[in-house]
Amino acid sequence: MPLDHPQDLTIKDFKIVGQRPLRPDGIDKVTGRARFGADMNAPGMLVGRVLRSPHAHARIKSIDSAKAEALPGVKAVVTGADFGAVKDGLDDGMLDVLVNCMAQDKALYDGHAVAAVAAISQTVARQALKLIEVDYEVLPHVLDVDAAMQPDAPVLHEEAADESVPAGFSKNVVRRYEFGHGDVAKGFAEADRIVERRFKTEAAHQGYIEPHACLAAMGPDGQAELWVCTQGHYMVRNTCAALLGMDASQLRVTASEIGGGFGGKTTVFIEPLALALSRKAGRPVKMTMSREEVFRATGPTSSSSIDVKIGMTREGRITAASGELRYQGGAFPGSPVEFGAMSAFAAYDVENVKTVGWDVVANRPKQAAYRAPGAPMAAYAVESVIDELCKQFDLDPLSVRLKNAAVEGTTSSFGVTYGKIGLSATLEAARAHPHYSAALGPNQGRGLACGFWFNFGGETCVSLNVNADGTVGLSVGTPDIGGSRASMCQMAAEELGIAYDKVRTVVADTASLGYNDVTDGSRVTFASGLATIQAARDAIRKLCGRAARMWGIDEDAVIWEEGYAKPAGGNAGSFEPLSLAEIAAVSARTGGPIAGHTEVNADGAGQSFATHLVDSEVDPETGKVKILRYTVFQDAGKAIHPSYVEGQFQGGAVQGIGWALNEEYIYGEDGRLQNPGFLDYRVPVASDLPMIDTVIVEVPNPGHPYGVRGVGETSIVPPLAAIANSVSAAAAVRMTHLPMSPPRIRKAIEEAAGR
């Protein structure tokens, strides 16, 4: 998208951008007033609950809900049959969403929804679930990605694979992807040494603290309202409208405050069920998931099995690299293996490179996006092998990465040629940091790793209203998951030349503003920010027009500078500059309300890179790891609100620490999830961690007027690798299976000693 005002990187004297003002939604959030998904009620509201399959794989022979329906206080029951009418009209992707929300002929994982009830209270709803009789024929199941690829593995879907999969594979292998360039055989022949290894990572959940929640109300006229915690309320509207056979215009979705998402709230689970129940019962229905339901039926990311082979010269030049990535994405096609295969070697300038990705289904919940989906596990495998080669050649791991780093003009392993990027700058920043040369004690190790993420722009729509009192109302359509309203206020105020607190940003509902893509791909500060700046410039054009009218001169003879309309030079005449407030105050007499708008499909998001540095200590007796020191170096392009940029760096790093050391989905032989709670699925707590130091590197993104790059996702790409390299150094054994829980570390140490 060509910007009508090309980026002016000479603007270095930002007044508001780059400052750390208090967030506009802050007071509500520290006083308990902010309303999240579960905090909304409606008169006559019913409570909805879901009955879930206790089996990992089972044919549903019949469902008898007569007893539940007869229970006093039960107002509606829905099952797969209630969605029968719309099923045929859905495309494959939408059909999978439906079948994931409500099983049709088979239950595909432990926790798969098979029926839902609406009742006058939680107690009655729970009783009703017990009265629903489901006749299951239990089928054999498969959970592990490598096992699911075996030709004799139990099959989930007869026809989910597409033409990309060669003949002879299990039907659970549903897609094959390939990327790369050059001649890897030739490249490996040029190497002084080649290391090839297999790695495994387990499924981790996004772990947002707020469980999914919504409140649906549909009237007999078919008009519906939905209040929901989501990363994308337009996505919710379009999906629910399709699954319920309604017009999108009849469904107004309002995004609540959202208590974390990290990608996990970019799809629907209970929302279509709440609407279906409300339609049947004729009353509003509120649904909230329990934490157990969140673990069993939403989220996690893929588990993976990855082979990586890298050839290097003794000077540290990578001559060839190849990878084979196998991700299970749960019971439906769509694991992020494509992103994994694209991103695996994206940080490096490699002449001969090839990756193959296999998308595999297994009897687990349908994976949902998790922060840089697919990239962290690929980076773990690649950065571990690079680390090993550095050790074998006794080369400095930072220098080797710098030598091979992708720079402007590098053709990436996935085909794109990079513009201005900041990987080398993050490596240089790491080298200059005292952390890099600090001393280590016994049983301690230092790990370094780089990470890459694509970043995304996407469809965005923004409205900026100039009020008669000189304040500004900004409507965006991207839910605020980490302080983005503050950044939007900053960018609007910067452009308009007014004070930060004169701008109020709200997340508009789906009826009030045009379509916006989901808050994902680290896109909000980039795309909604770009749209905000353009909407402000649109408003400025109009403000200049009004000033021209007030002065009785030509519109072209007015310019906007530092928050004032001014005559453009002596020929335009001599008038006192007019502020936004002065022009707005008389807008009724100069043509009516003043507003700026942007509708854009933004590209130019600008790739993002990071380098992470971590020190850990391993207790050789217990296998326990302590993270001693952690520093994140990441390119933000331009940090609009540095505190929230640091927060993204820190949050991503700590989620990575959890994934690397503790977090995993543990299943029993019966295919049931054994740790669906925060007690047994242990995310990092404050006492597990040191401070997380951050260094914001700013290599401006030419695709954004202020140089912004998204920062939300890249921060989870390097941690698995950096921590694995650190722990491998501390334990003196290469760790090839995540999470590096104490038993796995003990086993690796014992095996190494036994050799």
Partner: protein
Amino acid sequence: MSQIHVSTKINGDATEYLCEPEETLLDVLRDRLGMTGSKEGCGTGDCGACSVTLDGRLVCACLVLGAEAQDREVGTVEGIAEGDSLHPLQKKFLEHAALQCGVCTPGFLVAAKSLLERNSDPSEEEVRYWLAGNLCRCTGYDKIVRAVLDTAKEMRSA
């Protein structure tokens, strides 16, 4: 099943309600009294999003029965500010950007306040261990710990 009548004090106000015998204090606060500041992240005592005080002691409201509040004093996030003047912790959380999504924030504030009432000069390690029962998935805790330490410092010099 008959409901239980409870007389209690919430944030200093005398309050009465009816609740089911199995209903938690968290459900009473949220669903019966409209005090939705306390959040349910797990319902099993593992996340701290529902942290409140009961006679000054820090508890998980999801692990306390509504009926147990009889003749006790309950403190919630809604009671931390005095009128429109924020508690120093609330101010410091905002200044330090110690919240991203903010769903964990009520629990952290209640827990941190309870720490500072017992220990006006906690070390970083003491803060980290005291807050270990409160999960935050967004921030990595760094800014939360800093906000609490900074509040303690400011309150000591006040």
